[in-house]
């Protein structure tokens, strides 16, 4: 597919024909015909689903900018008349900044922990001649089938025995562990693409294993690292069950749990709640804009093949 694309690419700029952008190369006519025949069934379905996704997202944004009184008076989907940031201010007044900070710590901690153990492991799985080391790959794959909810009680047991209950570390450890299988999957598949000759060249230069790791493996798995970091960060940021079961105090509250607390305390303040939801998702939205390809590609790479 890639080769067809590149050979079809012409030097002349695509003009007219209602094209929005000039990046798409002009297709030879025969292929073009196939593409342009509208896929009516799926198109209508996709249109419907578009509405089903877009309406709640619009509701979320519009409500977060609406005055509290306006929300009750105007109806949920009307255009907001008086835009206000009051809701956002109110959310910060009831301790949102603390939740945000805790979530940041948890996400950063989980990312660092996963990368620290998964990178060397992926390197070993791809490069080791030891049968046992290579077999550990299947062990991690097996981990994909373990749902966190089903083992939440033993995890609670382990965390309390380690005297970590109600700390941010208590959230970081299982979050990282459950992100490990996919992370190793992504990293091994990006390392398998490194040509053997490069390792041999390093060896001829007299490089030790650790030098090979630092000078060859790390730079070449950069895109895999970014993918893993985004994936783990997202898991840590959005996880609900580990904080629910492993923490309890106000000081260790992370965003998803904080949102839930808002709901129980200020349930009637829907604009405030929606502002909190928007704020909690804002960093992820930013990430989506910046690293969408990595994020989506990484999620699919874990399972798609």
């Amino acid at each position: 597919m890639m080769t067809v694309e590149s050979t079809a690419r012409t030097t002349e700029p695509a003009v007219g024909q209602g094209r929005v952008s000039g990046t798409e190369p002009r297709k030879p006519r025969r292929r073009g015909q196939r593409r342009e025949r509208p896929n009516i069934g799926a198109g209508i379905g996709a249109g419907l689903w578009f509405v089903i996704v877009a309406v709640p997202v619009y509701f979320l944004l519009a409500t977060s900018l609406r005055g509290q009184g306006d929300y009750l008076g105007e109806g949920p989907l009307s255009l907001p008349t008086g835009l206000t940031l009051d809701n956002y201010v109110r959310v910060f007044e009831v301790g949102f900044a603390n939740f945000l900070l805790n979530s940041l710590i948890v996400a950063t901690g989980a990312i660092c922990l996963v990368l620290a153990v998964a990178l060397p492991a992926a390197f070993a799985i791809v490069r080791s001649q030891n049968r046992f080391v290579r077999a550990t790959f299947s062990l991690f794959l097996l981990g994909l089938a373990v749902p966190a909810q089903a083992v939440i009680i033993p995890i609670y047991l382990i965390i309390t025995r380690l005297n970590l209950y109600d700390s941010l570390t208590a959230i970081i450890l299982p979050t990282a562990a459950f992100a490990l299988p996919i992370s190793i999957l992504v990293l091994t598949s990006s390392l398998r693409d490194v040509p053997r000759e490069l390792y041999e060249a390093m060896a001829i230069d007299g490089a030790k294993v650790s030098q090979t790791f630092l000078q060859l493996v790390l730079p070449l798995s950069r895109s895999g690292i970014v993918t893993v970091a985004i994936f783990v960060g997202l898991q840590a940021w959005n996880n609900f069950i580990f904080p629910l079961v492993l923490t309890q105090s106000q000081e260790t509250r992370v965003l998803p749990l904080g949102l839930w607390e808002f709901q129980t305390q200020y349930g009637t303040d829907v604009p405030g709640l929606m502002a909190a939801v928007v704020l909690s998702a804002l960093p992820i939205f930013a990430l989506y804009l910046f690293g969408r390809r990595h994020l989506l590609g990484g999620l699919a790479a874990g399972f798609g093949k």
């Binding site: 996709a46 689903w49 490069r127 009680i153």
Partner: protein, 296 residues
């Protein structure tokens, strides 16, 4: 060859930290939960071995039978809604038109929101007083718009919210896989005069087989154990109408402090999920298959 042999290879030590860590928090707990199911433990003191006591109590607990039944129901609902829609939209989004790229960018938005955020949005939308529910309720035969307070439809509403949350992920899998289907398959079918529907069922679906199986297993295992959405939307109510088995496990464990008993339920959940997955693998012959594509 002789050169390659001299290349120093990383040993077991490189994988050891990940193994130990994953053993402790990933695979170890599976063994521990089985052990805990034979103990009595209130979450504070040391677990006490009680043999089969928890297991013998399971059949007498009406919430276990009921919970298992509606868990299986919810799992079926999730699979029946997510799989066809994800295949259809994933294949659609794999196309090259710009509008498809823009639409998929919106489709993927729920993927970015946390379970808690999604539950909050839908709770507000489904609020029978101020949300959207009183407006759309009458069209769906529910004049008061009290979707979540109605025992006979609350589970369907939950399945819908779960669909809203997880469809993009499965769509993403199918989109990636559909992009790998060689174009000339379609071109050949086109020449043979196959309609688009025929192409979909005789090229797209068979080519996506591996992804369908993987995605289905994920849906089934997750639906059997995922309870956060239910906890946040209905708390198992009204009554016990949406008290799915994993939620019952959570309540018995972390509200009732009967961790041993809850562990027994957890083992049941894992067993059912694994059995269903193995059934899929067995029926479809997934494990015997190397590649569904010629020459690949």
């Amino acid at each position: 060859m002789s050169q390659a042999a001299r290349v120093e290879r990383p040993g077991i030590l490189w994988a050891a930290p990940a193994l130990v860590f994953f053993g402790l928090f990933g695979l170890g707990p599976v063994v521990v939960v089985a052990y805990l199911s034979f103990t009595q433990w209130n979450g504070l003191e040391t677990p006490v071995w009680v043999g089969m006591e928890n297991w013998q109590a399971l059949p007498g607990d009406p919430n276990v039978g009921h919970g298992l039944l509606i868990s299986l129901g919810l799992t079926s609902l999730c699979w029946l809604t997510q799989t066809p829609l994800a295949i259809m939209f994933g294949a659609w989004a794999a196309g090259k038109q710009r509008i498809r790229a823009v639409a998929s960018a919106i489709f993927f938005l729920p993927l970015l929101l946390s379970t808690a955020a999604i539950a909050l949005i839908w709770r507000a939308l489904l609020d029978p007083n101020f949300g959207l529910a009183p407006d759309i309720g009458p069209f769906m035969g529910l004049p008061n718009g009290n979707f979540l307070g109605n025992g006979s439809i609350a589970l369907y509403v939950i399945a819908f919210v779960i669909l809203w949350q997880f469809l993009p992920f499965h769509m993403l899998l199918y989109q990636a896989a559909a992009r790998d289907i060689p174009r000339n398959f379609y071109e050949a079918a086109e020449i043979d005069g196959a309609s688009r529907l025929q192409q979909f069922f005789s090229i797209t679906v068979p080519q996506l087989r591996n992804t369908i199986i993987a995605s289905s297993i994920l849906i089934i295992v997750n639906s059997m154990t995922f309870f956060e959405t239910v906890l946040l939307l209905t708390n198992g109510g009204p009554g016990t109408a949406t008290r799915i088995l994993p939620l019952h496990m959570y309540f018995r464990g972390f509200s009732g402090f009967e961790m041993g008993y809850a562990s027994a339920i957890a083992v049941v959940l894992v067993a059912v999920g694994t059995t269903l997955s193995l059934l899929i693998v067995r029926i479809t012959g997934y494990s015997k298959m190397t590649s569904q594509r010629e020459g690949a």
